[in-house]
């Protein structure tokens, strides 16, 4: 069994993983500060922040030999059997203070106006490892801010030359827009004139930047990060289902940040997904429920609208007509399950169809460079590709799985439309929640004329909603909690980030009330547990529990590679008790 000695304590190496000293120390609760190292990028060891004392222990004599006289970058030090690491000696601490002072030589004191403040590597490490005095008396380099693309601003005087952004554009997207220009204290990050950072993953350089040099212009100067509450959500802009953290303040979303998931999106999200948070803040979203009375849509309280919808659908079922239900691929699996059981419960002859699946363009796969060295994350030694799907909805596979269970086949929307136009259905219940328009006005009118009773449940004000008999206001992706099945068949859970807007209810609650499932809000976990019991395809989600990285429906793997990773400065501080002198729940930190 391989052991490693950190600060005099012996720790067992995880089996089968190749870690560097930083990652290993992090696993056992010892922080080694770093800036330039990132698990998905090559090691350059140019920030010098992670330098520690390294040595080895002779397994026979037990003698410890340290590398004499010098410190070694931990990011470049593989964690091998009998490696000895010292991260808290006076020599290491003096070195960290020196590096912090050096990195801050030209750094302006503009934390009050810098968007990175609160999640800044310089702020955190300056507090923990730096020193209060600054001996540099010369004038600081002043370097005006510049644009490196329409979405990204570069404040060069804040840059510490870690080159994470440069390596990202060279190794992951392989577009190479960014580079270091000039040398020494004149070094700066820049683009070639006329070649902005406009690749589809460009926004990730902002997340990679440990300081406030690269900033998202969409978020620029809008919020301070300590006001934002983070919710573990999923991007619903395509069927990849990237893990994002939806950041909310005052009832609005302000940004998406990627969350690490080695099976789906690694450390990245695409720019289109990054901008898609805005649809949850749309002021024109449907904000009330309506019932058609005397030819006009009248605004009614939620319970009246639901009663009208329930009565109309039940009447259609009793009179022997067929009810058709359209389940959009924007629904969570729990909502799809409730809706299917509701309509099949009204009449076993009900027809359920998959809603329109929006597609645009073709799948775009970004294949990182396989030949660049990576350390730390064994699962990333072979860099995984990142795919932006053409299918612009989150849950087609999940809804299909539910449909297959309830009626044995998946009826497409075009098929349903054809049958509806033939006058086959008496009542139609459409749940959409789609973002982009999906039916033309003429077609909507034709569809309306062929059915007697139309219930429209949506977040947008559409033509079909204006023609419907009952309009129910559902939830946007940010207002509902539930699970989605992505294009690879991975079931993942998304938290709700916003409360339901006034006049609306989450779709899960609407359907639960229609089903008469009793008073009070329903929890997606309970429904998922029920779904796992009733539908064999979802058996892996037994008890409503899903692992952090999601689970594949068909072939559940035991435990996937990778441990949740995020740069320490992006994590909320003050909760962990990691101030010097305080006891840390993780153990021997700051010992």
């Amino acid at each position: 069994m391989a052991t490693i000695i950190i600060n005099g304590e012996e720790h067992t190496l995880p089996e089968g993983e190749k870690l560097n000293a930083i990652q290993l120390a992090l696993r056992v609760g010892v922080d080694i500060p770093y800036y330039c190292w990132h698990p998905a990028l090559s090691v350059v060891a140019n920030c010098r922040m992670c330098e520690i004392e390294v040595g080895s222990k002779d397994p026979k004599t037990g003698e410890i030999k340290m590398i004499p006289n010098k410190l070694v970058p931990a990011c470049q030090t593989p964690a091998k059997d009998m490696t000895v690491l010292v991260t808290n000696s006076p020599k290491v601490k003096a070195h960290q203070r020196m590096v912090m002072e050096y990195l801050l030589i030209n750094h302006p004191l503009d934390c009050p106006v810098c968007d990175q403040a609160g999640e800044c590597g310089l702020q955190d490490y300056s507090y923990e490892y730096g020193q209060a005095i600054h001996r540099f008396v010369e004038e600081r380099n002043v370097n005006p801010r510049k644009d490196v693309s329409d979405l990204i601003q570069l404040n060069q005087d804040r840059c510490i030359m870690c080159t994470r952004c440069v390596r990202f554009t060279r190794e992951i997207t392989q577009t190479g827009e960014l580079q270091v220009m000039r040398r020494g204290s004149h070094a700066e990050i820049d683009i070639f004139p006329g070649h902005p950072v406009d690749n589809p993953l460009a926004g990730n350089v902002v997340d990679l930047c440990p300081v406030g040099a690269l900033l998202d212009k969409d978020f620029l100067h809008k919020q301070r990060v300590w006001f934002l509450s983070k919710h573990d959500s999923l991007c619903t802009r395509c069927s990849t289902g990237c893990n994002v953290s939806a950041e909310e303040n005052r009832g609005a979303l302000w940004r998406f940040k990627p969350r690490f998931n080695p099976h789906v999106n690694d450390y990245w999200i695409c720019d289109e997904g990054r901008a898609s948070y805005k649809t949850a803040n749309d002021l024109a979203l449907l904000a009330a429920m309506y019932v058609r009375q005397d030819g006009d849509l009248r605004l009614v309280p939620i319970d009246q609208a639901l009663n009208a919808a329930g009565r109309g659908l039940a009447r259609a079922a009793e009179s022997g007509g067929t009810i058709a239900g359209v389940m959009s691929p924007f629904l969570t699996v729990e909502e799809a399950y409730l809706m299917a059981s509701y309509l099949k419960g009204l009449s076993p002859a009900s027809v359920l169809a998959l809603g329109p699946v929006p597609t645009r363009g073709e799948d775009l796969t970004i294949q990182p460079d396989q030949h660049k060295g990576r350390t730390g994350d064994t699962s990333f030694i072979v860099a995984r590709p990142f795919t932006i799907r053409a299918e612009k909805c989150p849950n087609r596979r999940g809804v299909e799985a539910v449909l297959e269970h309830f009626q044995g086949e998946v009826i497409g929307f075009d098929d349903l439309l054809r049958r509806a136009k033939a006058g086959e259905f008496q009542a139609l219940y459409i749940v959409s929640d789609a973002i982009d328009p999906w039916i033309g006005e003429a077609e909507a009118r034709e569809l309306r004329d062929k059915v007697e009773f139309l219930v429209m449940q949506d977040t947008q004000v559409t033509t079909l909603a204006e023609l419907a008999d009952v309009v129910l206001a559902g939830a946007t992706f940010a207002e509902k909690a539930g699970c989605y099945v992505n294009a690879d068949g991975r079931l993942q859970y998304a938290e709700a980030a916003l409360p339901p807007r006034d006049g609306s209810l989450p779709d899960l609650d609407l359907l639960a009330i229609l089903l008469g499932r009793g008073r009070g809000p329903v929890h997606s976990r309970d429904i998922l547990a029920e779904l796992a019991q009733m539908v064999p395809a979802f058996a892996v989600a037994e008890g409503g529990k899903i692992p952090a990285f999601g689970i594949v429906l068909e072939q559940p793997e035991p435990v996937g590679p990778g441990v949740p990773f995020a740069d320490p400065w992006t994590q909320p501080r003050g909760l962990k008790g990691d101030r010097p002198g305080e006891t840390s729940p993780k153990g021997s930190r700051n010992a």
């Binding site: 009050p112 106006v113 403040a117 801010r145 620029l220 100067h221 301070r224 300590w226 006001f227």
Partner: protein, 195 residues
């Protein structure tokens, strides 16, 4: 703390003497104090009440009254919209909308597009003043704050800047320039020394 906590100290009230039980000596003592003040008003002209509003009270220099938003030398609002005052505010009465500074302000990165203080909600603790890194928000000695509606008492940026204009002569800004460290010299001085 529970009632039978061993750290609890139990006190018994002191016993009253006969004179204290009688109460009359204490009443006489109190009346004596009143008589002393009356004599002071009549014979020594020592008046304590103030004929407000004819006569205006001048509060002490560290009195905490209505807020003002300071302006810099060019008349621009000094606030950089860092929102530290809103973070420090225990009453959550400050609402700031930040924006990128206009192109014509080359030395500034960010400024406040809107700055609203709910003066009714404010508890005048002065934490905003303490938190401000650019000395942009200050509490003035202006104390007779009145209004006819709640809306009138919600001060926006224009109103807070006008409080600055009204009070800047009586109460100059506490720091008009960033305080210079004692040891370090300015760049101009240094070049003249070396060159």
């Amino acid at each position: 703390m529970h009632l039978n906590d061993p750290h609890l100290k139990r006190l018994t009230p002191p016993k009253l003497t006969l004179a204290e039980k009688w109460y009359l000596p204490q009443i006489a003592d109190g009346l004596g104090v009143t008589a002393k003040h009356m004599a002071g008003v009549v014979f020594r002209n020592k008046v304590f009440t103030m004929e407000y509003p004819e006569e205006q009270h001048v509060p002490s220099p560290n009195y905490r009254g209505v807020h003002r938003l300071n302006k810099d030398e060019q008349g621009r609002v000094k606030c950089v919209a860092c929102m530290l005052c809103a973070t420090a505010c225990p009453a959550h009465c400050i609402d700031i909308v930040g924006a990128t500074a206009p192109e014509t302000w080359p030395d500034r990165e960010k400024y406040c597009e809107s700055f609203v203080i709910d003066e009714l909600r404010c508890i005048y603790c002065g934490m905003c003043e303490e938190a401000c890194p650019v000395e942009a928000i200050e509490l003035t000695g202006f104390y007779d704050l009145t209004g006819l509606s709640r809306e009138q008492m919600i001060f926006d940026k224009a109103k807070l800047l006008s409080v600055f204009d009204a009070t800047k002569d009586a109460e100059p800004m506490r720091f008009s320039l960033p305080p210079q460290p004692a040891a370090a010299s300015t760049p101009e001085q240094r070049t003249s020394e070396t060159g």
